[in-house]
Symmetry: C2
């Protein structure tokens, strides 16, 4: 338990004080970007987030060097957000978080993105999802093979937590790198260990 | 020669009429996008152009579904424009064109992008440049290994045409796919043929 903090009368601990230190208050995207930065700086892998997909409608060219986009629209992405290279292998994934305690709604991922992941796997790439259950403080790696094998059996609108517990890999909570998904990739693909939990 | 078109007095053929049919009037980026589309539809590879890097400063949320970006700026890209997967291998390249007949100015490529390509190669990815000499109607594949080996010998501000002729691979002019760079990648990496022209 340790010492309990004494607060002056009328002052209650803010959200910051009661934060779950597993998360350290950083959003999932920032944690993944930080992880990728760690991989890059430590010469482990080159993985980047793609820029946001937009359609530019109007640009104001003030000068040759200075251009301001005055009208643009967000576009449904046709691929996942992250890709890159790790030990010569092509890496491709999407990262999402949910507030649900019991399931991950597949509506969080565009159909285009799921189809893209499937194509990646068919071409020998390593494709997966990273899903954070915020309220459970758990982050799962779900390999594309397991995802599509599951979805082929039953047309689901969401992935229940039991699916993650059975087929997913819980990503260990570390300080650095924050979301060490390549540890799982190494386990599954690089070390040549038996694929899947059940084998 | 064929029939010559007769134009009414005062009307001269537009650029479109005098076009070089090797190019068919399409710009290089469109030709590469078309090539990637061909690879995708024919189940050869999954390679996409990344969205333009921008910094969004102001978004007008008219409604939950409709958002208009009202102010955004172009950002120097930290990676190359194209990447994807081909037979399990990671593919990464930048494509540029030049009007010069004699050399390709390296100022056309950001230093960030060159460093990115170097990192890709160090991690076992396949990295290269595609350079179109518009006025020569020639498109070259330059493998990253050759590029950086050349640049390590001499700090150059441009790559002379002789470099392309010696170390590059001329991409055959085809109808479909238009810029068949994977033919060269297959030649160098997949078939395991001797690397480089001179070996």
């Amino acid at each position: 338990m340790g010492d309990t903090m004494k607060y002056p009368k009328g002052i209650t601990p803010s959200v910051k004080d009661t934060i779950n230190y597993g998360n350290r208050g950083m959003d999932f995207e920032s944690e993944i970007n930080q992880t990728n930065q760690y991989y890059l700086e430590n010469n482990i892998a080159v993985i980047h987030k793609k820029p946001t997909s937009i359609t530019i409608a109007h640009v104001d060219y003030k000068s040759r060097r200075e251009a301001i986009i005055k009208e643009a629209y967000f576009k449904t992405p046709s691929t996942t957000d992250y890709n890159g290279v790790f030990q010569g292998r092509y890496i491709d994934f999407e990262a999402k978080e949910t507030n649900s305690l019991t399931s991950f709604p597949l509506s969080n991922i565009h159909l285009h993105q799921l189809n893209h992941l499937k194509q990646i796997i068919n071409h020998g790439g390593i494709g997966f999802l990273l899903v954070r259950f915020r309220k459970r403080n758990e982050t799962y790696y779900v390999d594309g093979h397991d995802l599509f094998s599951y979805l082929s059996h039953c047309e689901r609108k969401s992935l229940p937590i039991a699916f993650f517990q059975k087929y997913g890999f819980l990503i260990a909570d570390k300080w650095e790198p924050r979301v060490d998904y390549l540890e799982i990739v190494t386990h599954i693909y690089i070390k040549g260990e038996l694929y899947g939990k059940e084998n």
